[in-house]
C-alpha cells in the first residue's frame, strides 16, 4: 500500500516539523499577548482567576530547573498529546464511516437498521 506509506511519511514529517518548532519555544516573546495587554491597560486583569488545578502551568514542566528545557519539554509533551488525539479522532471517524458504509451496503435490501 503506497498510500499508507505516503500518510506515514506525511505524519512523520508534519509532527517532526512541529517538534522542531518547539525547540525554538524558549525564544518566543515573553511580552503579554493581545488579550493580556488589553486587560492590563484597561484595568480588568485583576478579574482573572487562577486555575483550580495545575498539571503543566505556563508551558514549563514543573520540577525542572532549566527554564528552557522545561519549556521545550512541555512543548514536546503537548505536540505528542494533540497529535495522538487528532489522529485518534481522524482515524476513529474514518473507521466509523467505513463500518457504516459496509453496514448500509449489506443491509441494502432490508430497511437500513440503525447501528447499535
Amino acid at each position: 500500500m503506497t498510500a499508507r506509506k505516503g500518510w506515514i511519511a506525511l505524519i512523520a514529517s508534519g509532527v517532526g516539523l512541529a517538534l522542531i518548532i518547539t525547540l525554538f519555544s524558549p525564544f518566543a516573546s515573553g511580552s503579554p499577548d493581545g488579550l493580556e495587554r488589553v486587560a492590563e491597560d484597561k484595568d480588568f486583569l485583576h478579574h482573572a482567576q487562577g486555575p483550580s488545578f495545575e498539571i503543566i502551568p505556563d508551558y514549563a514542566v514543573p520540577g525542572i530547573d532549566n527554564e528552557r528545557v522545561a519549556t521545550i519539554l512541555s512543548g514536546i509533551i503537548g505536540v505528542l498529546i494533540v497529535a495522538v488525539i487528532g489522529l485518534a479522532v481522524g482515524f476513529g471517524l474514518k473507521r466509523l464511516a467505513a463500518s457504516r458504509a459496509e453496514q448500509t451496503h449489506t443491509t441494502d435490501t432490508t430497511t437500513s437498521a440503525p447501528p447499535g
Binding site: S25, A28, D33, R37, K42, H47, A48, V84, L87, K94
Partner: protein, 238 residues
C-alpha cells in the same frame, strides 16, 4: 506586585466571563462540535485523518511561538483558518477543539469555565470565516497559486479580527470591560497580530503547495482543479 502572573496569552482565563455568557458559549460550542463529528464522519476524505494529527501538532507548536508586536505586546497564531483551508471547516473544528482543550486541561492556558468561549472564538469562528473567505478569494481569482496565497492571508487576518471582536463582545456582555473600551483596544492590537497569522498561514499553505499540492486540491477540489499540474500519485484507489 498585586497582579498575579497568569498564563493568559490569547486565551480567556476564568473570571473574565460571567456565568451566563460562559454557559451560553459552552452550549453553542457543544452543539457545533457534535455537528462537526457528524459532518467530518460523513465527508471524510482520504487525507483528512492523518492531516488532523499533523495540523493539531503544528498548530499547538505554532501557538507556543509568541511573536512580538508593537508596544511590548506579543501575539501568537490561532490556526483555525489554516486548518479549515487544508481539511475543511468541520474537521478544523475538531482539530482546534483538541488543541484548545489540551491547552486548558494540561497547560492551564485558558480557563475551564471559559473553554466553550475559547473554542468558539479561536476555533469555530476562525475555521468557518477563514474557510469562507479563502474559498471566495480563490474562486474569484480562479484558483491560481497566487490566489491561494492571497486567500490564505486574507482568511487568516480577518478571522483573527473576528475572534478579537467576539472576545470583546463576550467581555462587554459579561460587564468585565465596557464595549467602547475593550473593542477598540482588542481590534487595535489584533490588527497587527492578524498580520502575523496571515504570514504564517500563507507560508504554511505555500509550503504545502510546493510539497504536497494534492492535499490542497482534495480540500478545495471544485475550485483548484485547474491547478493540477504537479500530480502526487499516492492516492489510493478508493
Amino acid at each position: 506586585m498585586t497582579i498575579p502572573l497568569l498564563p493568559i496569552y490569547m486565551h480567556i482565563p476564568d473570571g473574565f466571563l460571567s456565568v451566563p455568557v460562559a454557559t451560553v458559549m459552552y452550549v453553542i460550542t457543544a452543539i457545533i462540535i457534535g455537528a462537526a463529528v457528524r459532518q467530518t464522519n460523513r465527508h471524510l476524505k482520504e487525507s483528512t485523518a492523518p492531516l488532523m494529527g499533523v495540523l493539531a501538532a503544528f498548530i499547538f507548536a505554532a501557538q507556543m511561538m509568541n511573536f512580538p508586536v508593537a508596544g511590548g505586546t506579543s501575539g501568537h497564531m490561532l490556526g483555525g483558518a489554516l486548518a479549515a483551508i487544508l481539511v475543511g471547516p468541520w474537521a478544523a473544528v475538531l482539530i482546534m477543539t483538541t488543541v484548545i482543550g489540551v491547552q486548558a486541561l494540561i497547560f492551564q492556558d485558558g480557563g475551564l469555565a471559559a473553554l466553550g468561549a475559547n473554542i468558539f472564538n479561536m476555533g469555530i469562528l476562525t475555521a468557518f470565516t477563514g474557510y469562507a473567505i479563502y474559498r471566495t478569494v480563490v474562486s474569484v481569482l480562479r484558483g491560481t497559486r497566487a490566489s491561494m496565497l492571497v486567500g490564505s492571508f486574507a482568511a487568516a487576518w480577518i478571522s483573527v479580527m473576528l475572534a478579537a471582536l467576539m472576545t470583546s463582545a463576550q467581555l462587554a456582555i459579561s460587564d468585565t470591560s465596557p464595549w467602547s473600551v475593550v473593542l477598540p483596544a482588542m481590534l487595535g492590537v489584533h490588527v497587527l497580530i492578524g498580520i502575523g497569522e496571515g504570514l504564517i498561514t500563507a507560508g504554511a499553505v505555500g509550503l504545502v503547495l510546493s510539497a504536497r499540492p494534492d492535499l490542497l486540491r482534495s480540500a478545495t477540489s471544485a475550485v483548484t482543479q485547474k491547478l493540477s499540474s504537479s500530480g502526487y500519485s499516492g492516492e489510493s484507489a478508493s
